[in-house]
Symmetry: C2
Subunit: 357 residues, 2 copies
């Protein structure tokens, strides 16, 4: 019982033609009940399963989705994958995962590797290096090749494709508004450099919320941190930066951090400095991950609903993939440009915990 059995072998064993076997197994009414029974029984016995690769070649579709993300050891991204996998599986697709490690080159290599027939479409989030270089030719190239892309979270206007994004701006507004509502007047933001679009948007949301409340944004209260500080071995550097920031701005009574790490580090630093949370300083983070739930005090956050993002992205992609199928007929009739790309905005939600009043 070694190796999978093929139609050919069944045909030979049963002394019928390959096409008879194929038809019998797909329960075609062309075949007599008798032979169908015989063939099915035999196939069952030998546990016949059609070879996916042969089917893919035949149909010129693989029923698999390529996921391309910056990293996988990351709560948000793995959550998105779980969402993608969920609907992909439900709709008969597999997922193949590539990691860019935030590298432009690795992103391209992975993309090309998968674009050569291995997958029907991509769901991806752009690497930081690519964002920095602003070179998106590989995306447009694969789209032009006829492979649809759905981008999520880290997206870019320059590429025409479906997108699923977090409502970063509004989420930030809500977060800062909550701080204002609970009495904060000197609200600081701890954010990233502007080239990461989510960092930029969250900063904008922060400013907007302040202005909505007639509070003049104070540039001193905006701390833009370099990415390199995110690395786990640079935890102390990060703490130092934040401590300096607090020292320079003694009046801070609320902190909005654009990610979990910044938020819990801010809490930790504040606590070490003798502040009580949320009595003296309230803290809200963006991104709801494990750290938030287990921090002391537990951290109020803006949840991005990563799983939902993944689900929506997968649905968007598969919808488009399946539209392509029947579009061939339409194509003969009306070859409309069909460049109506969808941009889904997933609403954020504030998860209230103990770091705010």
């Amino acid at each position: 019982m070694k190796g999978k059995i093929t139609l050919k072998q069944i045909a030979k064993e049963l002394d019928v033609s390959i096409s008879t076997v194929s038809k019998a197994l797909s329960d075609s009414k062309e075949i007599s009940e008798e032979t169908k029974q015989k063939i099915k029984a035999f196939a069952e016995l030998y546990n016949y399963r059609p070879n996916n690769i042969a089917l893919s070649l035949q149909n010129r579709k693989t029923k698999t989705i390529g996921i391309l993300i910056p990293e996988i050891v990351h709560h948000f991204f793995s959550t998105v994958i779980s969402g993608i996998e969920l609907v992909a599986n439900k709709r008969g697709y597999n997922v193949i995962v590539g990691l860019s490690n935030e590298s432009f080159t690795k992103e391209i290599i992975n993309m090309e590797m998968l674009a050569n027939g291995s997958i029907d479409g991509f769901i991806l989030s752009i690497s930081k290096e690519t964002l920095l270089k602003q070179d998106y030719h590989h995306f447009t190239a694969t789209i032009n090749q006829g492979i649809p892309i759905v981008m999520f979270d880290r997206v870019v206007a320059e590429v025409a494709c479906d997108k699923v994004i977090v409502d970063d701006l509004n989420g930030s507004v809500k977060a800062v508004q909550k701080l204002v509502d609970t009495g904060c007047r000197n609200i600081a933001i701890i954010t990233t450099m502007d080239y990461v679009s989510v960092g930029r948007l969250r900063t904008q949301g922060y400013i907007k919320a302040l202005e909505d409340n007639k509070i003049t944004p104070n540039p001193n209260l905006i701390l833009k941190l370099d990415d390199s500080l995110d690395l786990e071995n640079h935890l102390e550097l990060l703490e130092n930066e934040i401590r300096k920031f607090f020292d320079l701005n003694p009046g801070i009574d609320g902190v909005f951090a654009v990610n979990e790490l910044y938020a819990i580090t801010a809490m930790k630093v504040a606590q070490k400095m003798g502040f009580h949370i949320p009595e003296d300083i309230q803290v809200i983070g963006f991104t709801d991950g494990v750290l938030s739930k287990h921090a002391t005090p537990t951290l109020t956050t803006v949840s991005q609903h990563g799983k939902r993002i993944g689900e929506q992205a997968a649905n968007l992609l598969i919808d488009r993939l399946q539209n392509e199928d029947d579009s061939y007929e339409q194509y003969l009739v009306s070859s409309k440009p069909k460049t109506d790309y969808i941009k889904l905005v997933i609403e954020t939600e504030i998860i209230e915990r103990d770091s705010t009043k």
Copy 2:
């Protein structure tokens, strides 16, 4: 510029045969320099890339590895994936990910879905439900089908395949020994039910370490927790269980927890009860994830080196896959059984932080 160009199209455009094109592109010396130049230039221009699916069908190998894990939103598993991806990519393989969600049925479905030609081999960690049922026929079936499997972490003796495991027993011994060395005499363990092999092994390690030190294990100090408590919405239940445990055993001066969650929850509960860590109670966890690094105090843990596990598993699998290749020749000569399976034990390492003295 829509759709990928094929050998056939190039052949037609250049008015040569398909095989000439194929040979030219693989730089065969059968073809004249002149035609090679022409064909290569044309292929370059149209960015020709061979179709992976066609190659897979031809070679009867896909150059992709199927990863099958219980969940992906999990630090350990995603770390392992990153390790697998790293060496897989380096060695020319892609990875396709399936999630069992700890379900026996989903594990089987995923397995069968991928086993029909989509992948060359599996790297997997067994779902809890499968472990509970002790039904491993799907594993042996795929192995008999000629698809090699490498199991990691949650492995089982009943299946004959390569395995990569954490040295759970020794890791636990080391952890408990450290507690003993730093003065603990009433060391408790917070563990899982025995059917999860890693839980069982870690408990054994705990007992062994105590006995090595002539300390009689006290059954009261062993807290076996049900899995359902791991769920995030049951955090309070978990805290309550642990609090009851502490209340019942006031003398505890050291805690060894078989995972991060149990460890930090134990710390939290102890702190709420007024204990100081590590002065009054020392805590060590198994599994080095994000929570440990950011807990207060930071948690001393037994690191499992997930990435290394992934790397080793991938190397093991790819080695076997590539041995199969040339084994056909050997097969004609000596058809030796070749049932020498490798079991790699990855040593753990204690990461000392502030929850121990």
